[in-house]
Amino acid sequence: MIRKIISGNEAVATAVKLARVGLTGIYPITPQTSIIEKLAEMKAQGEIQTEIVRVESEHSAMAATYGAALAGIRAFTATASQGLLYMHEMVWWVAGSRVPVVMVVGTRAVGAPWNIWNEHTDFTSERDSGWIMAFASNPQEALDLTIQAFRISEDERVFLPVMVGMDGFILSHTKTNVLIPDQEQIDDYLPPRRQPYVIDPEDPVEIGNMFPPEGYMKLRESIHLALKNSEDIIRQHGREYNKKVSPMIDYSTLNSSYRLEDADYAVVLMGAWAGDAMEAIDVLREKGIKIGMLRVRYLRPWSEKEIRENLEGKKGVLVLDRSTSFGRGGPLYIEVKSTIRDTEVKDIVTGLGGVTVGKSDMIYLFSKFVEGIKEDVTWYYPKEVGKLDVRTPRDIE
């Protein structure tokens, strides 16, 4: 293994290389573009054999990736924001077809209005599509989770696609120290691809043709059960990754915790701002406030078991959502609140569209929470927002 200072996007490209991906369907969209630029560069220099298919839209990027996967090739694509929404239909087709595929989403706000900065709404809005959904908190995790994604996706007990989320710009573009596994380690960890069926002219199959209601519903239940069962399989492959590749980050659980065991209060969040939260927790701990953090690493499968074990019995749980389910607060909040009983759960929606929420904001929010905030969902703006200068172009009579 070697250490290199690289960005999250480069870490993902490196994972794709190490996983010996056979085809990448590409369409550039900020902030994911440099993943495919890096792959194209590797291809030009002869470092990878991946077929790079340039297409005219994200819908086609997923379709090309899907087609290659159906033919038995390890396939990858990446997208963000409007691009993910544009491929939404194909996202469902891939999951419904039960074919292993891996995608990285460099999370970003969704228009209107136009905004290229980070939030998680694009990612969380796919949570009902039948994909396994991991979320990284640093470039190292982006690399590790992308490699594990192939292993999980191609497990015969799963056979579902996996998407790995990564905070746009915050992780995709900032460089940090990343431990890069050797090819031999990954070859040892990641066996040759397995999949439920292939398209083959010698032995043709019809894929996704008309199914009667009961048969269709049975297929839906099959996805549900495979997704539920994937919980243990993710832990199993995580432990194996720790053993064969790197013990640096503990992947034996679906979520990661910080100073939670003896904590009275817990904070739940997902993604890169876990770093700020950890620093804020240290400050509050020094002041005698016993607070800890649970970072969600897998939104799907949602481990009710881990969430309960970690959060039940706490005096209060504060969820920080970087995405929205309009009229209901944050998606993470809804998940947590529906999982734990007898514990007070509050939600803060913030950080949307690139709003910066740092350590001092976290200290403020966490202390306010411990003091007792009233509302269930609070929208938090770190800076004063002036009167927005937006209006309809003409007065309505």
């Binding site: 077809s97 039960r98 015969e156 056979f159 019809e206 894929i207 043709n209 049975k218 239940e221 099959s222």
Partner: protein
Amino acid sequence: MSLLLDYQYFPITKPGKGAGGKTGSWRVVKPVVDLSKCIGCKACFMFCPESTIVPKGGKVTVDYEYCKGCGVCSNVCPVKAISMVSET
């Protein structure tokens, strides 16, 4: 590969002939292959829009259940081995 897990289903089926493409009684001409002339080039097989030309033993036959009598096969045959015969 063994896929023995009883909760695993995949949305695939084996292709077969559908009832939708059956010719019924409306075809007016049918292609008849003169096997003594046929050189087995499979041009008719390639061009038949209904995939009803069946390669068989180096030559071809026609699946009349699905042939619509369009005459494409007859037109593309380089040795004029297929003639269109009236059915009315």
